[in-house]
């Protein structure tokens, strides 16, 4: 999978590494702002309220 990604990218190795790094950063940012908050709200592993059965 990652080998395929590496072959797909054009240019010299440092350009590929730079593009890969930017894509990884974008994925992390998306996780932090959208994906993780959604997942956390569904998990509720830290719910501290009391409520009815």
């Amino acid at each position: 999978m990652y080998a395929w990604w590496w072959r797909l990218l054009p240019g010299p190795w440092w350009l590929r590494a730079l593009v890969s790094l930017l894509v990884a950063a974008a994925v992390v940012a998306l996780c932090f702002t959208v994906v993780f908050p959604l997942v956390a709200d569904r998990l509720a592993i830290n719910d501290g309220t009391v409520d009815g059965p």
Binding site: F36, A44, N46, V50
Partner: protein, 232 residues
């Protein structure tokens, strides 16, 4: 072909593992930092608004006066901060906003006031829920509270000093802990209680840690900081 498939599956598994670790880091540290910072900003803006204008009065009153009656605080819309909670046991600079409602979103912004329970200082049960880990973890040290510890609530006009009386570990369904008379649902209240609920054990939602405190004194803001905070 088989080798290629296992290679891809392996890479996907490693990626999933990295993302899971990233999620844990985000939940434990990132939400804690970002929510903690936002809550501190809320406290700062509330305190600035509430202390603006009149200079603090001398801390020592001429003679002991009877406590003023509690000003009735009207419940704001869900999610809005209307009080600040101070607990010297949690640190001299500990201050978190109290927001209306105990939904997932509200508890990210501070400790949540159970809707339908009493407001600060009045007879009944002023019940609060808070995170023990993550999202600023306002009730991280809730299990450190001991009998007699001060729990102070500041509103726009007054200070309410409560003293810890008891604590317990209960099932998450045990709503009687936030009844007007704690643990005695249906009884008519005659005293002003404050109740804190948090998850228990830490990092789990299996049980709830509950602390009850009883109102000790009411003080107008114009009379200066309450002794419980000045001593801290």
């Amino acid at each position: 072909m088989l080798r290629r498939t296992t290679g891809v599956v392996g890479e996907l598994l490693v990626t999933a593992g990295v993302l899971t670790l990233l999620f844990v880091a985000w939940q434990l540290w990132w939400t804690d930092l970002s929510s903690g910072r936002a809550q501190a900003a809320t406290v700062a803006s509330l305190e600035e608004r509430w202390t603006a204008g009149d200079a603090p009065a001398p801390a020592q009153p001429a003679q002991p006066e009877p406590d003023p009656a509690p000003d009735l605080v009207v419940a704001p819309p869900a999610g809005e901060a209307f009080a600040v909670l101070y607990v010297p046991r949690f640190g001299a600079d500990y201050a978190v906003p109290v927001v209306e409602g105990t939904g997932t979103e509200e508890l990210k912004d501070g400790v949540g006031h159970y809707e339908e329970t009493a407001m600060p200082g009045v007879v009944g049960n002023f019940a609060l829920a808070g995170h023990r880990v993550t999202y600023g973890k306002p009730f991280h040290l809730v299990a450190d509270l001991q009998e007699g510890d001060a729990v102070v609530v500041g509103t726009a006009t007054q200070w309410f000093t409560y003293r810890v009386r008891s604590w317990d570990v209960v099932r998450p369904q045990q709503v009687s802990v936030i009844a007007p008379v704690p643990d005695r649902p249906g009884e008519e209240p005659t005293q002003a209680w404050l109740t804190m609920t948090a998850c228990h054990p830490m990092h789990s939602a299996r049980e709830r840690y509950v602390v009850h405190a009883l109102l000790e004194s009411v003080r107008d803001r114009s009379a200066g900081d309450p002794p419980a905070l000045a001593a801290g």
